[in-house]
């Protein structure tokens, strides 16, 4: 008796499932590796990212400040203030993070709150610039509709600052998208995406304060913010590679 020849046809559904499974395992293995690596290098990674944030913020502030000097623009002055505050905020947070790696650096809870306060002030100035822009263009109704009025009673100061930052940046996102609808400028859309990443980052930061046992949230929020900030760096790059140098000469 001849053995029955078993023919195997490749089922497209099976192939798709196996590809999905491979993707699933690869992704999970990667996640596990990240989780294993987190406790060892997480603080260092967070600090490096914070200091990249400092560099990006001060770069944007510098270009905006050159604009203030050259053309005396109040919009650019507010943009300068926003990114100076953000830069100092990231710097303080970075140094606080360093104190966990280098034990001799003395930093208290007040310093953490101060860092967050600086960051929130930066986001406030960003939102404030948009609010003024809206008022000047007589779109006050839109501003009032979108800008939320929320009262906190018993929440902690750090939580309040984080959620305030989230709202400020979210407001910035809405206004930037509105501005894109008006100007149809690709750079503006890119900045809206960057701000959206930062707002997601601040939201995850707020979540990380609620779920203290989930270490990944802390790193995730910094990564999201950094991606957002690096996107915000695009106009600075455009400016430096453009016809006008940073000293304002053509």
């Amino acid at each position: 008796m001849r053995p029955t020849k078993v023919t195997t046809k490749t089922n497209p559904t099976q192939s798709y499932q196996s590809q999905n499974a491979a993707h699933f395992y690869t992704r999970n293995v990667f996640s596990i590796l990240v989780l294993l690596a987190l406790p060892v290098g997480m603080e260092v990674i967070s600090d490096v990212l914070q200091f990249i944030g400092v560099f990006v913020s001060f770069s944007i502030a510098y270009v905006a400040y050159r604009g203030v000097r050259r053309i005396h623009s109040s919009s650019l002055l507010r943009l300068t203030a926003a990114f100076v505050f953000l830069g100092f905020g990231f710097a303080v947070e970075g140094f606080v993070g360093l104190s966990q790696v280098v034990p001799n650096l003395p930093f208290s809870t007040v310093t953490v709150v101060a860092g967050l306060l600086l960051e929130t002030t930066g986001y406030f100035f960003l939102a404030f610039s948009h609010a003024l822009d809206v008022m000047m263009s007589k779109r006050i109704a839109v501003s009032v509709l979108i800008f939320p009025i929320i009262s906190f009673s018993s929440a902690q100061l750090v939580d309040i600052l984080s959620i305030l930052s989230f709202y400020f940046v979210l407001y910035g996102v809405v206004e930037t998208v509105y501005s894109y609808a008006r100007t149809r400028k690709p750079d503006t859309l890119l900045i809206a995406v960057g701000l959206a990443m930062i707002s997601l980052g601040t939201f995850v930061q707020w979540l990380s304060l609620l779920y203290l046992n989930v270490d990944v949230l802390s790193l995730l929020q910094i990564i999201m913010k950094e991606i957002g900030l690096l996107i915000l760096f695009t106009p600075v790059l455009n400016f430096t590679v453009g016809r006008v140098r940073l000293d304002g000469t053509v």
């Binding site: 270009v63 905006a64 050159r66 604009g67 050259r70 053309i71 623009s73 919009s75 650019l76 943009l79 610039s129 948009h130 822009d133 000047m136 263009s137 910035g172 206004e175 930037t176 998208v177 509105y178 501005s179 894109y180 100007t183 400028k185 750079d187 503006t188 890119l190 900045i191 809206a192 915000l232 695009t234 106009p235 455009n238 400016f239 453009g242 016809r243 006008v244 304002g248 000469t249 053509v250």
Partner: protein
């Protein structure tokens, strides 16, 4: 104002006050004040004709305008207006 003085000066012999007034959409007194400020700062050149004065953008004005556009572009990227 500088932009009008630059874009409307196609023949190279300057732009008259009437054109500037029409494009700028402002009163004569405000326009006169602005023109004297721009001429004083060297951004505009005043060409004195027999009857009327004409205005032309200077090299300094052109450079300023280029810088202005660059910063306007930068501010617009952030969704802001100058």
């Amino acid at each position: 104002m500088l932009n009008t003085a630059k874009s409307m000066n196609t023949e190279g012999n300057g732009v008259g006050v009437t054109t500037l007034l029409r494009k700028g959409n402002m009163s004569y007194s405000r326009m006169s004040k602005l023109l004297s400020e721009l001429v004083g700062s060297g951004l505009l050149l005043e060409l004195n004709g027999e009857k009327i004065s004409k205005y032309m953008i200077s090299e300094k004005g052109s450079k300023f305008l280029a810088v202005y556009y660059q910063f306007e572009d930068f501010a617009q990227s952030f969704g802001l207006r100058l």
